[in-house]
């Protein structure tokens, strides 16, 4: 009996082993057995996973941030340094463009000029003037005209050895002779308190219109004929006055002057025809001057 019992148990064991060895056969019963176990074990597993995630979160957000903070600071410094460098390079590029423009103009102009840098502005509120870094030692004298690629700027009123003071066209105490380009009417251009300019003493029957360009007449002062001064924005006809006046919006942005040309000898060009300023480029090129001639 005992032998038959042992043989039966052995048979069952071999059969179970065979069932377990076969993959298809093992899936069903094992999973059925395992499902319950997994269900029971999943609760503490999830709980532990939450704790683990919490620890991970604490690590990554707070403890590891110590290094991220340092890295952030370093990156910020690098960004600031790069921004500063970019700004410096932009400034250099802008200065280079301005100087190239000025140099081109200087080469193209048929009269002699001297490039100068604006180093200061009037220390009072009552006058509109600039101080340039060229003076008596460089051959600058009082009443010389000053210009930029966009047109006339002003005239030298005071000269020291190494610097000069230039009274801007928009100062009320400055006066240069101007010419309305289209009608050829002459007048006196003076500054206004608003930072604009007026052309006075135009003939009463003059046909000037808003938008007309006013240029230097070359009759007096340190300017050659034909430098752009500005465009007429308003015409004033007063009763019982023998002359017309007109408000001029200057071509030059006087608030942003950085480099200028001092006209050391304007007389070579007194026979030049008046020049038409090219929008955005100021004066025409030498080739164009020849065409005009």
């Amino acid at each position: 009996m005992v032998g038959a019992k042992r043989a039966f148990v052995l048979l069952l064991a071999v059969l179970a082993a065979a069932l377990l060895i076969l993959p298809e056969a093992s899936d069903g019963p094992l999973q059925t057995i395992g499902r319950g176990l997994v269900t029971m074990a999943s609760h503490p597993l999830r709980a532990l996973d939450s704790v683990n995630q919490g620890i991970d979160s604490i690590w990554s957000r707070y403890i590891a941030l110590r290094y991220v903070g340092e890295e952030n600071l370093s990156l910020r410094r690098e960004i600031a340094s790069l921004q500063e460098e970019a700004s410096r390079l932009r400034e250099k590029a802008a200065a280079s463009d301005r100087l190239r423009e000025l140099l081109n103009l200087k080469e193209e102009l048929p009269y002699s000029t001297l490039a100068a840098r604006v180093i200061a502005r009037d220390p009072t509120n009552w006058y509109r003037s600039i101080v340039i870094n060229k003076g008596q030692d460089d051959g600058i004298t009082v009443d010389m005209g000053v210009m930029t690629p966009t047109g006339a700027v002003g005239r030298v009123v005071k000269v020291q050895r190494q610097l000069a003071v230039v009274l801007l066209l928009i100062d009320r105490n400055n006066a240069v002779t101007g010419l309305v380009q289209r009608t050829r009417d002459e007048g006196i251009v003076e500054g206004t308190e608003k930072g604009l300019a007026w052309i006075k003493y135009l003939p009463l029957l003059s046909n000037v219109k808003v938008g007309d360009i006013v240029i230097t007449s070359g009759m007096a002062g340190g300017f050659p004929r034909g430098l752009p001064i500005g465009r007429i924005t308003r015409i004033e006809r007063r009763e019982a006055e023998l002359f017309l006046s007109a408000e001029i919006q200057p071509e030059t942005d006087f608030g942003r002057l950085e480099e200028v040309l001092v006209i050391t000898s304007p007389r070579e060009t007194t026979n030049l025809p008046s020049l038409v300023p090219v929008p955005g480029h100021g004066l025409p090129s030498a080739k164009r001057l020849e065409e005009i001639r």
């Binding site: 009552w126 006058y127 100062d171 009320r172 308190e193």
Partner: protein, 168 residues
């Protein structure tokens, strides 16, 4: 020490105003540092100092300015003298008195410059100039001047400072 400060003022103040301080503007108007300096010297140090420093600073200011009349060379010492005489007429140089004095002197200075300028190019509207330059500048001068004066009084008290119980 006083002379060192005066020398530094004469050498540095006008270039500082012309190069750097002109960027500090409110509606295009900036305070006149020379006027403030001369008035404060007059109020703190006396007539002689104010006249001498006013002469030097006014001359330097005229050198760098488009002003053809050389106005500042005589106007600034005069302002210093006036500030000195006015401040010596009170027992205590109070905040209100200093503010009013600086305001009045700046308005006086601006009016003189305006009329001298309008002799050369007549037809300028005084009220427009007063509204656009003269009064705003006077306000800035007074506020900045009083601030600097208070700082000076804290750093180096003078005979003008009496206890608060004293009257003006």
């Amino acid at each position: 020490m006083k002379y060192l400060v005066y020398a530094a003022l004469i050498i540095l103040l006008v270039p500082f105003q012309a190069v750097l301080f002109n960027r500090v503007t409110i509606f295009g108007v900036h305070p006149d540092l020379v006027l403030i300096a001369v008035c404060l010297i007059g109020m703190q140090a006396g007539e002689l100092d104010a006249i001498v420093i006013g002469l030097a600073l006014g001359f330097t200011q005229d050198l760098f300015s488009g002003n053809a009349h050389w106005t500042n060379i005589w106007l600034k010492p005069l302002l210093g003298l006036m500030a000195s005489l006015a401040s010596h007429s009170v027992i205590n140089l109070t905040f209100t008195f200093s503010l009013a004095l600086l305001l009045a002197l700046s308005i006086f200075s601006g009016t003189v410059i305006f009329f001298l300028k309008s002799f050369q190019s007549p037809g300028v509207d005084f009220f427009a100039a007063a509204q656009g330059i003269l009064l705003p500048q006077a306000c800035f001068d007074a506020v900045l001047g009083v601030t600097v004066l208070k700082l000076i009084q804290v750093a180096a008290p003078t005979r003008h400072q009496l206890p608060t119980s004293s009257y003006e």
